[in-house]
């Protein structure tokens, strides 16, 4: 395993809301929430909305009733916009260090091995550049392990959003790797154990019963005991908190609200077929993760880019594709990924990375009803469970989709999007307007 640390985690603040604000400055300073397309629940909140007490997953009709006079703006998710802004964010963020893992639509780990000088200063410069180039505010956390970088990011965000929660100089950019031991100790003691990456509510509850309440408490646990009592996964998290790298780049421990599958290539790729193959494989893997958590996806982001640390022409392109209807079917996902790659591929480019991200996730069984004009539903579900069982038994990719399939049926199913803003950056007929 290769650990090109120290690591930085760059994370956009309230990403979906920030994307909307770039093109609608009037939303600045006001409570804004973004609603999921399938059920109208909050999937992103501005700081003002968080301060009101609006929670993730809060249904809009309840929010409207509970805060009738708060002047809340609710918007339907505009995934075409978020996908494009994400690809810009990732492209600029890549300048921070030689290795990058796109972790989710709004978070990226950067491997900083070999970067000389003051990492915090460099991070501030990259953060300003992201803000200037894209309009998106971000925070950067730096640490000797990915888990500590994630923790540092939480501190950078909290110090900015809630002054007084942490030392003010840690706002926006927080480098835990250079803090004096006493300061690091105090910060860990002031942070709840549930904030640690990889410690979910269930384990946090068990830890609290044993009086392990803060990050400092967790970091002082004995890794061997943790492995015996819980799992290797938690042991790894504890070791990472102690500063020992156990999680490399592109080795993702758990699924989140979005599922991302990305990889850097061993050597540059410049032809279409291997690129289509790569994203087909990512889409198949993403499909497995999706089915494992019992979900469906309505939108897929496909991206590919060059490395800013390689000579040659730089190129970065992404596309957000809507599935005909929410699906967890590998055949649908692979076909969509292949269609996306064909749209963004450009000859003459030395691609170093590609990826697939599933957005707009909904639990199984929440899909929009559609007349059963083609009875693929049940049969394909059975096909998928057989596929997963075989791949589970004989290894990943034992059975896979041979042809990615280019025929795309016309989209018959439309999302409810009355509150959606224009697709400012992906449609010529929806450009933002500037008055002269």
């Amino acid at each position: 395993m290769h650990f090109p640390g120290p690591f930085a985690l760059i994370d956009a603040n309230n990403f979906y809301v920030s994307c909307e604000r770039v093109f609608r400055p009037a939303l600045e300073g006001r409570p804004v929430i973004v609603l999921s397309n399938n059920d109208g629940c909050a999937i992103a909140r501005s700081n003002e909305a968080k301060a009101l007490g609006i929670k993730m997953g809060h249904p809009w009709f309840q929010v409207r009733q509970a805060w009738p006079d708060a002047g809340i703006t609710a918007l339907s998710a505009n995934f075409a916009l978020y996908g494009d802004m994400s690809s810009r964010l990732m492209g600029v963020a890549a300048g921070l260090g030689p290795e990058q893992e796109v972790y989710s639509i709004d978070e990226t780990f950067i491997g900083l091995a070999g970067i000389p000088g003051d990492l915090a200063r460099r991070s501030h410069a990259v953060r300003s550049r992201i803000l200037q180039w894209t309009g998106l505010p971000t925070c950067v956390g730096i640490g000797p392990t990915k888990t500590l970088a994630k923790l540092a990011n939480h501190i950078a965000k909290s110090a900015e959003r809630k002054p007084g929660s942490y030392p003010a100089e840690l706002a926006q950019v927080c480098n835990l790797a250079i803090l004096p031991a006493s300061e690091l100790d105090a910060i860990m003691a002031a942070t709840e154990v549930s904030e640690v990456w990889g410690i979910g509510p269930r384990i946090a509850g068990q830890l609290r019963m044993l009086n392990v309440r803060t990050v400092r408490d967790a970091a002082s646990l004995d890794p061997a005991t943790v492995r015996r009592r819980w799992s290797v996964t938690l042991e790894r998290t504890i070791r990472e908190l102690q500063g020992q790298p156990c999680i490399g780049l592109e080795q993702q421990p758990s699924a989140k609200q979005q599922i991302a599958c990305t990889r850097s290539f061993g050597q540059p790729v410049d032809s279409l077929e291997p690129m289509v193959q790569a994203v087909s494989e990512f889409a198949a893997r993403a499909g497995e993760k999706l089915r494992a958590q019992g979900g469906r996806t309505g939108q897929m982001l496909v991206f590919a880019h060059t490395s800013p640390f390689q000579p040659g022409k730089s190129y970065s392109k992404s596309i957000t594709l809507a599935l005909r209807r929410p699906s967890s079917n590998t055949l649908d996902l692979v076909a969509t990924a292949a269609r996306g790659m064909r749209a963004i591929f450009k000859p003459g480019i030395q691609f170093m990375k590609a990826g697939v991200m599933l957005l707009d996730l909904a639990p199984e069984g929440q899909e929009q009803e559609e007349l059963p004009l083609d009875n693929e539903g049940e049969a394909s579900e059975r096909l998928m469970s057989v596929l997963d069982a075989i791949n589970d038994r004989y290894g990943q990719g034992a059975i896979r989709v041979a042809s990615a399939g280019t025929q795309v049926k016309k989209r018959e199913w439309e999302m409810r999007q009355q509150l959606r803003t224009p697709r400012y950056t992906t449609r010529w007929d929806e450009l933002p307007v500037a008055r002269t």
Partner: protein, 135 residues
Amino acid sequence: MSLCLPFLSWRPPAGFPSPADDYDHARLDLNELLIAHPLATFFFEVSGRSMEGAGIFDRDLVIVDRAIKPAHGCIVLAQVDNDFTVKYLRLRRGQPELASANPTFPTLRPAEGQQLLVCGVVTAAIKRFTRTRHF
């Protein structure tokens, strides 16, 4: 971060041909001519007549590069009172003001407490005489 490529690279006739030269024979791409920083470039549609003197007319499209530092005399995209506007940027004693390219329109000097934010530099305008598509 920006990369400027010539239309054709010239090399002496002797020597081993470089595979990179293949690229030089790709069909001309307007993106290369017009966009230096793709990650920082956005398109806007213009509404209004105050920049006609600069060749920017109602319904033209403008290309905005947020990576270029705005300087005195640039045409910029700015944010005033939560609206986007395209104007000449003038710096008077370090204070920004937004000038029109049409004498019948006033220069915009931010009032006390009024926010003027320069977002990016307008690098080109696109004017079409026929519309081949529905947009």
